[in-house]
Symmetry: C2
Subunit: 553 residues, 2 copies
């Protein structure tokens, strides 16, 4: 028995790239990508990706090179998820909403050799290149033109090697794509954005990407040939792996340049959309839109990134969306903890159902282990739904590590676990609930309190549109909760700070009640729609310590 | 980038065993296994498997030991798919319909340490042990009692260490299951049976089993919580991986001791069965049963093992079964080529649809590559739907190799491929169609002809129940096709040999027409329901060379 070893026939590298070859065979005549009035079939998408990959090789892209793209969810963005790794290169999707300085840092850190630039991001990327140090190598630029935005003109293509379509046309459809040498070869590079200020480059292997892709299909029970609407940016952790997953099941990718609730409702109706993903802010935008409407057929909507407030969940499901909730990180390439629904929960009252669905849930089948541990001792916390601990993971879709950052890599890989930096509790039934990013825990009088819990109660206030709670320094308690809120439009009477605090007192333990409420027109957000707590935290810090004359109850 | 290497957190061994832990968390209160009047929940199944694994360790089973089971689809058989590898051991399921001599060969070859024996197979296994050579080590026996067959008595348990339930009861529910050291550790051992006479021990790793399991869920688009009826024996290539797959999706396993069409229709109705698998002979039995009935709800029926004749397919679908067709081998642990259906095919006439569905299809997403090659040169055959070649595979679910048989292992692993020994053609649209086992090709006058093709036409004859075509030696042509047929019951007038030959002449090229037709009450079958062509081939050989006075057209 010991003599049986893996061989070429049974251990070819796991990779999702072959899904496209297969889609071209099985679903060659079926729609692959739809964008405005452009429609491609799977055999066209397959051919276009091979052509583009061959052109990348022609212009000097080699195995292991990083190729970047700054674009929204247009067809080119979809194709690059296959075309770039087809050329043996590493795909680096860059958030279009970053500033030029951050983009220049990313391009330099990743040593990007070529950047595909959406026409709407032209000025941004040119500025980013301008900000690169004099002695650093400049990547070649390729323009993704889009005549629905701006007709192609020669003035537009200055600074660019070619256009995206030019490269597709010049390519060889008979190109044989470059297979990885091992399944651990890097395939994608994504920079974490958002709540921390220094972006880190997350590297995923072919094997990791294969695992999260297949896992995400099984966990969401995606049927064959779904109609998938791209409301989640593909530059956001590669659209949680669904660019590859939709090829695996021969679905249709409905592309859309930017999120707009009215447009989304129109596309759902026009194309018979069955599936879509998005951060909770997407649920908010859909339900708050004056153009929202009851869906004719259920649409499966998967959300992650932050616990959706119960009130928002209820409103979204009332429209006919079937909301799934999960948890993932850029470091896991997609959702690998999800709130698997139990049939008996359907009999519970709506608010109780929403409370259960707001929990992040259980590991998917591709994730070997998940636990909540004491960050110091590394021991599991009690399964009591209240003891806070750090979420740790072990499984095939955990990243290879951070690019050129051994310190950050070794800091999160400890004791055989990946430490997420997220704080949660384990419920008695084995379901995880995230309480906060570690830095979002407020320590008031030695008591750890979760800002997310306070926020979820603020969201139940009828006048509040958005809420974020951070720590404000306090001479006596160390920290106290400080709430930043934006109010809904068109209110007859706006609530005062005192009224909000009264409302909290009636609805939560007194030690959790915000001592300060700051009203804002809008809360500062990351480009992926997450509220930038670190900005608010700085504002709260600048407010200075609070004068305490209240006793705590 | 080169410095990023796999670590414990991102490369734990791929294995399907954790699916049961997860099912106990997510679906703890839901039905896992139903058998007659016994019903278990997923938390019970989980606990029982841990207890049994702990008992196995208590009686001396160690990592890498082989543990056998001779049982039909009873709950114990299901549980052993987790419990045996939970103990670190290798699961060896043995076909209950084998003879004692073959079982003794298997037990000796696998060096089995312990055998779980279904009460109905007690005499068979005791005889097999009696046939073991004097000097060889005898495995310990454990009895799987079943009071629906025979009430448990002390006379029954003579020769047995314990009963299955006794071991479950003695076990520790807090046992921590033994994880594989690497994902390449062997997990199952299955002996190929059937058309060849010398069984070979197929060894699959944890990784291979994980891959085929997840792959089989995606390819059949199995939803969450299906009701799965066990019409396919689990000893048949581990039920094509579905014992692990049904745990992954939290379904219900409806167990049944033996196939009986009336019982099956009853269980479908009683439990609301949604999914089942079986060899084409199962389709035959369902449709030919006088107790067959129109289904109230569609039942997904996956078939493989031989191309289902078009007529049988049509009859089965008319009852309300949604038939899927695939292709797999014991060496791939399940189905890894399947006839992915295209929506546009729904518009075709019924017979054309059946013809398309009889093709084996395209590789699943977990199989990296599949091809049809010339066995000599190793080059791909033309995609013309007619050039015969050998089917070769490369992918994560191909076995590790044959147990203690380096010659057979190296014979099938060549040029980086696994050579299946099956002969097929590649259609222009990239779909594979199996024409025959290599030894089933009849070479008549230098022309290769497929016995399966002749058979499929014989099946369209209204009087024919089953048909098998083999080569008969021929002085002039080398070989000629010889048909063995059994007729349907209750025919008013039985056709003659001449009439059958006439029928063939009207419906196939003349060189393919059988020169001999032999009528049989029943055709000889393997225990898994495959017609034993080697038996028929020997009969045809014994008939001696045919006297040829016909000229060939």
């Amino acid at each position: 028995m010991e003599k049986l070893k893996p061989s070429t026939a049974n251990s070819p590298p796991l990779t999702p790239l072959g899904f496209l070859d297969r889609a071209a065979t099985v679903y060659g005549d079926c729609n692959s990508v739809i964008y405005n009035n452009t429609t491609y079939t799977w055999s066209q998408t397959h051919r276009r990706c091979l052509q583009l990959a061959s052109s990348l090789v022609s212009v000097g892209i080699r195995r292991g090179h990083v190729v970047s793209v700054v674009a929204p969810n247009v067809p080119a963005m979809y194709e690059l998820h296959f075309a770039v790794p087809f050329a043996g290169a590493i795909l680096n999707c860059i958030n279009t909403r970053l500033d030029a300085r951050t983009i220049s840092v990313i391009l330099r850190h990743g040593e990007s050799k070529l950047v595909f630039v959406d026409c709407a991001s032209r000025a941004l990327v040119l500025e980013a290149l301008f900000l690169l140090p004099q002695n650093s190598q400049r990547p070649v630029l390729v323009l993704i033109a889009d005549d629905t935005i701006e007709p192609l003109s020669s003035s537009l293509t200055v600074d660019f090697l070619d256009t995206y379509e030019g490269m597709v046309e010049k390519g060889d459809p008979g190109f044989r794509w470059i297979r990885p040498n091992t399944e651990w070869d890097p395939m994608t590079l994504n920079f974490t954005s958002g709540t921390t200020s220094s972006p880190k480059g997350v590297v995923h292997s072919h094997r990791g990407t294969f695992t999260i892709t297949v896992d995400s299909l099984v966990d969401w029970a995606v049927p064959k040939q779904p109609i998938y609407l791209w409301t989640l940016p593909m530059f956001h952790a590669n659209g949680w792996s669904y660019p590859w997953g939709i090829a695996a099941v021969g679905g249709t990718n409905v592309c859309v340049r930017r999120f707009d609730a009215e447009v989304v409702f129109g596309l759902i109706e026009r194309h018979g959309v069955t599936h879509m993903c998005g951060a909770p802010v997407v649920l908010n935008m859909l339900t708050n839109s004056p153009k929202n409407k009851l869906l004719r057929n259920p649409v499966y909507l998967l959300t992650a990134g932050a616990p959706p407030p119960a009130a928002v969940l209820l409103r979204t499901e009332a429209l006919g969306f079937v909301v799934g909730h999960g948890y993932g990180l850029t470091e896991t390439g997609g959702i690998m903890v999800s709130c698997a629904w139990k049939p008996q929960w359907n009999r519970l009252p709506a608010t109780e159902k929403a409370r259960l669905k707001a929990r992040q849930g259980v590991r998917t089948i591709g994730m070997a282990e998940m636990d909540v541990v004491d960050s110091e001792s590394g021991l599991s916390v009690r399964r009591d739904g209240s003891t806070l601990g750090e979420v740790v993971l072990r499984g095939g879709c955990v990243m290879l590590g951070y690019l050129k950052d051994p310190e950050a890599t070794s800091k999160c890989f400890r004791n055989g676990w990946f430490y997420t930096g997220d704080v949660g509790v384990m419920h008695p039934d084995g379901y995880l609930e995230i309480k906060d990013r570690s830095k979002d825990v407020i320590i008031s009088g030695g008591e750890n309190l979760s800002s997310v819990e306070v926020e979820s109660i603020l969201y139940t206030h009828l006048a509040i549109n958005e809420a974020a709670v951070v720590a404000r320094p306090d001479d006596y308690w160390g920290e106290t909760p400080c709430a930043f809120v934006s109010l809904k439009n068109g209110l007859e009477k706006k609530p005062t700070e005192k009224e909000i605090i009264e409302y909290c007192r009636r609805n939560m333990p007194h030690y959790m009640v915000p001592k300060t409420v700051v009203f804002r027109e809008e809360l500062p957000k990351t480009s992926t729609g997450k509220i930038q707590k670190f900005v608010l935290r700085n504002i709260a810090k600048d407010m200075g310590p609070m004068q305490n004359n209240q006793s705590r109850l």
